[in-house]
């Protein structure tokens, strides 16, 4: 195992710590009573987790594709199953994204969650531990445990604190993802029976027959495609987003959707390189369909949350597109796109939550003409919307541009088709901005805040310090990544190169070697 792992160089087991701190924090919430105390406690725990995760960035060695900060403990020797965790260039940013987004989830729920605060903090903290677990597991069973274990807290987040149709949305979310991942379990066991190990890097070393690869690829790809989600498996997403509380939407958009992309990169590509090559055209086609249909559906939405949910489908289309172009620029663009989508869409959902707290409606028409009343709010909204459709200078511009470059380099037609999606993104986001900042077609503002106890019917309070802090934090990353993506991209470099190397050598070893064209790396 040593050839894959670099021992943890820090003085503490960082990856276990960032999982255990939220779990212990969650158990302690059971002893607390007062709502404010609970919120502050939740914030403390998530901020502490964020702070102790910081060395993942500062001490990360980007010159090696090996797994870092690893821990290896015997867990279940009867099945040759160890507790083994570690991060490489593919997962490290996603772990950091998780630990950085979670404090914001607590902050944006400060006034939004009114009932069952104790359970809310409990569930949110467990969710954090499970999500980190998914990204750091280097063992298929451990991965599956976190992958499925995450369903329960997420289900409860939607089912208990959700909107009017939360029953429907939560069940749909649960069943879709559960059904998607049952074949993943079969694939995990089949790989174990074939190779005798659950250890992911060791599984990648093996070469499998073409048929076997295809089955493994399909079993994994189904669950990842549902999680992404790609068209036509996306229908759970708008329902879940609309009904989930703000924190739930943020978690879903920022982190859960990334697990699909992460899964493709971690499992499908290195384990089944031949199958990846065979499926590549289909996956690219599905990505294009997701980009275009997602954008098209977003154009017609009147509910802000639904609009952003469909835009997520389109944005995640860019991720699958980048991944399956199988070029260095494409994969890195896709990975950066995952981070950017996490920042931007998370921020947009927080924006929706903020306005929903004030007007109790998510309809665009009920939230129009806010420019005069909430200047700070609309400034933030404008920045994040611009970032969402990839305006130059913002984070998404870099990543979408990279994916497009990769697409044009390999298949100009694919690139041209995905441009349409990018244009539609500008159309639906600008339409949203226009309606929300300026006014309705009839020139009047309509707010649904009838009989608000505090203010006059047409007066909305602008952001308070907490909300400015939450959004400002994310805005910092929008511009940081937008103007200076180099540090993040360089963290990915060697892992992505290694991954593409694995795909290439795996393909040459495989039986289909004569039928497929080898991957051409596009110059970075």
């Amino acid at each position: 195992m040593e050839k894959f792992l670099i021992a943890n160089t820090l003085s503490y087991p960082i990856l276990s710590m960032i999982m255990i701190v939220p779990v212990i924090g969650a158990l302690i919430t059971l002893l607390l009573k007062n709502d404010t105390v609970l919120k502050v406690w939740g914030l403390i725990v998530t901020v502490v987790t964020m702070v102790i995760s910081f060395p993942l960035y500062s001490a990360f060695d980007s010159s090696t594709p090996k797994y870092q900060f690893t821990e290896l403990r015997t867990w279940f020797p009867s099945l040759n199953l160890d507790y083994v965790v570690g991060v490489d260039g593919i997962s490290v940013l996603l772990v950091l994204l998780t630990t950085f987004v979670m404090p914001l989830c607590i902050l944006c729920s400060w006034n939004y969650i009114k009932v069952r605060m104790k359970e809310f903090i409990f569930v949110t903290l467990l969710m954090e531990a499970a999500m980190i677990g998914v990204f750091v597991s280097l063992n298929t069973v451990l991965f599956y445990i976190f992958w499925e274990g995450m369903l329960v807290p997420m289900y409860l987040l939607i089912a208990v604190w959700g909107g009017a149709r939360r029953d429907y949305a939560s069940i749909k979310f649960f069943l879709y993802t559960f059904v998607g991942s049952i074949f993943l379990l079969v694939a995990v066991i089949a790989l174990y029976v074939t190779t005798g190990t659950f250890f992911i890097p060791a599984l990648m070393e093996h070469s499998y027959s073409a048929n076997y690869q295809m089955l493994v690829f399909l079993a994994f790809a189904l669950s990842f495609a549902i999680k992404m989600p790609v068209y036509p498996l996306h229908t759970w997403l708008p329902a879940a987003h609309v009904e989930a509380p703000t924190a739930g939407s943020v978690i879903l958009a920022s982190i859960l959707l990334k697990m699909g992309g992460y899964g493709f990169l971690r499992f499908c590509l290195p384990l089944a390189p031949n199958a990846t090559m065979v499926c590549m055209p289909y996956m690219i086609a599905i990505s294009l369909v997701s980009i275009i249909i997602g954008g098209y559906l977003a154009l017609g939405q009147t509910d802000i949350k639904k609009l952003i949910a469909y835009s997520s489908v389109a944005h995640m289309g860019f991720v699958t597109l980048g991944i399956f172009l199988l070029s260095s620029t494409g994969v890195k663009g896709a990975m950066l796109q995952m981070i950017n989508h996490g920042i931007t869409t998370g921020a947009l959902f927080i924006c929706v939550g903020i306005i929903y707290e004030r007007t109790h409606s998510r309809e665009i028409k009920d939230n129009s003409a806010l420019g005069m009343q909430m200047p700070i709010y609309v400034t933030f909204l404008a920045i994040f919307s611009l970032s969402s459709f990839g305006f130059p200078g913002t984070n998404s511009f870099v990543s979408e541009f990279m994916v497009l470059i990769a697409a044009f380099a390999k298949y100009p037609l694919v690139g041209a088709a995905s441009i349409i999606g990018a244009i539609m993104a500008a159309a639906y986001m600008l339409r949203l901005l226009q309606k929300m900042i300026w006014s309705d077609s009839d020139g009047h503002a309509h707010h649904a805040d009838h009989g608000d106890a505090h203010g006059a019917a047409h007066h909305l309070f602008d952001l308070n310090l907490r909300e400015i802090g939450t959004l400002g934090f994310l805005m910092f990353f929008v511009f940081w990544v937008g103007f200076n993506p180099k540090p993040l991209l360089s963290m990915m470099d060697s892992s992505v190169d290694h991954l593409l190397q694995q795909v290439e050598t795996g393909m040459q070893k495989g039986s289909l070697v004569n039928q497929v064209v080898p991957v051409k790396s596009v110059s970075r």
């Binding site: 939560s170 559960f178 059904v179």
Partner: protein, 473 residues
């Protein structure tokens, strides 16, 4: 003869005698409950203390080994949990409470000795001791649904005797072809005979049938839903868990007797397993009565367990032992919730669960843990059990069976989720909050902790189960 070999049996016999004495006098329900609870705790301790004993008794018909001792612990643990979670026996008529505890204990005694029986007639004797005491307690129910529980009792009795008849018939064939009633003697000749002698296959299947009835496995499942709904809540929680576990003990022994290659039997067992899973899960989807739902769910679980039995390798049989232990915990946790929510021992439907998370967060959480566990969501014992059973089946190359198994797991997710959804959904009217006494709360926390911890740290349990399988015969 060493006395320590029979510790759990002796403890249970003393318990039976003590309870018999209480049935002669007039005692308050609380006193009876405490007596039964204390005695069953002693029995559990005795079973744990006798855990590492090994030996053969009574002309080699009674074998004390790791396998039997594990199942004695499971049986006494089940008895203890049933008695402690149904404190007060709300569903049982006042004048029958003492007898109820007594017959429950006699049933457990039969099951405990069944786990150790390694000879056909001894198996029959033990099985009948347990069966007859259970026939008696099925109709013990407060008289407000008279017809239902009498119907249940008659069904349980009639089908029970028919199943015993089938089993005896199978035994006669097996005796005929092997010339012995000892499992150890059969194990020498049976693996070969199963490939050459159709009578041996038929005899084996008929013998299995006696236990499929206990296990409520397709095609002997059809009485389970009626019996489970007709019997009192505390009775159902017992008959849906403990006898099943012990039936598994005998099936594990018989599968081992038939040899590592179950051969011809595999196909029959595979059909039974898949039929059981599919039928159980599909029927459970439409149930409104919670006990009926759990009955169908238990039929489905019997199917998953059979996957491990028919794999018949060391991992398969060991994972079956682990799985059934986990099933006992998860199912009892659901019945624990049902019992607490039914003050008069009535049957519950989904409507009774509405808004449960407001009325009692603990009960809602216990139910969610049990339901998610039975779905197979990690990190619970239900997931680890399924993982092990499926791994054993894939090792044997039963890909199709495993794929059918996981599809069934996906179907089952829907109705288990319905339980959770009902208890976490908003009720129209808030409803009264459920008040739980301190020991009952402790029990609820125990269920949650046990279901999660045994799932996260399975190593010692699996090691023990593997040792049991290796030390058998």
């Amino acid at each position: 003869m060493q006395i320590t070999l029979l510790l759990p049996e002796i403890a249970l016999s003393i318990m039976v005698l003590a309870l018999f004495a209480t049935s002669l006098g007039k005692f308050k329900a609380g006193t009876l409950n405490l007596t039964a609870l204390a005695l069953s705790a002693i029995a559990l301790f005795a079973a744990v203390a006798g855990c590492c004993e090994h030996g053969v008794l009574f002309f080699d018909t009674y074998r004390v080994d790791t396998l039997s001792q594990i199942f004695k612990i499971i049986t006494t643990l089940g008895l203890f949990l049933v008695i402690s979670s149904s404190s007060g026996l709300r569903g049982i008529a006042e004048n029958l409470k003492a007898e109820y505890y007594m017959f429950l204990t006699i049933g457990s005694f039969g099951l405990v000795s069944l786990a150790s029986s390694v000879e056909l007639l001894t198996i029959l004797m033990s099985l009948e001791i347990s069966a007859f005491s259970l026939y008696i307690i099925i109709p013990f129910r407060n008289p407000h649904h008279y017809r239902d529980h009498l119907e249940a009792a008659i069904k349980y009795f009639l089908f029970g005797t028919v199943a015993t008849g089938l089993m005896l018939f199978g035994m006669s064939y097996l005796f005929g072809v092997t010339g012995t009633t000892y499992l150890a003697g059969m194990a020498k000749v049976l693996p070969k005979l199963l490939h050459t002698e159709p009578l041996a296959v038929v005899g084996m299947i008929l013998l299995f049938c006696g236990f499929f009835y206990k296990l409520a496995l397709f095609p002997l499942h059809f009485l389970a839903p009626d019996v489970y709904t007709g019997a009192a809540n505390e009775t159902t929680s017992f008959i849906s868990t403990v006898p099943k576990a012990t039936a598994i003990a005998v099936l594990v022994r018989l599968a081992h007797t038939a040899g590592a290659e179950v051969g011809q039997l595999t196909w029959v067992l595979a059909v039974f397993a898949v039929g059981s899973m599919t039928l159980g899960n599909l029927s459970a989807l439409v149930q409104q009565d919670l006990k009926r739902l759990l009955a169908y769910s238990s039929i489905a679980h019997a199917g998953y367990v059979m996957l491990g039995v028919l794999s018949a390798n060391e991992l398969g049989l060991a994972s079956v032992i682990y799985y059934i232990g986990g099933y006992l915990l998860m199912n009892l946790s659901c019945f624990y919730v049902i019992y607490q929510l039914a003050p008069a021992g009535e049957n519950l439907t989904f409507d009774h669960l509405k808004g449960l998370y407001k009325r009692s967060p603990l009960l809602a959480f216990v139910l969610a843990t049990g339901a998610f566990g039975m779905t197979g969501i990690p990190p619970t014992i239900g997931f680890t059990g399924k993982l092990l059973v499926f791994t054993a089946a894939i090792q044997k190359g039963f890909y199709a069976l495993v794929i059918l198994g996981v599809i069934n797991a996906a179907i089952s997710a829907f109705y288990y989720l319905k339980l959770v959804r009902a208890s976490y959904s908003q009720a129209d009217e808030p409803g009264e909050s459920v008040v739980l006494s301190f020991p009952v709360k402790v029990l609820g926390v125990f269920f949650i902790a046990a279901i999660i911890l045994t799932g996260v740290l399975p190593q010692s349990f699996i090691a023990l189960a593997k040792e049991a399988v290796a030390g058998m015969l």
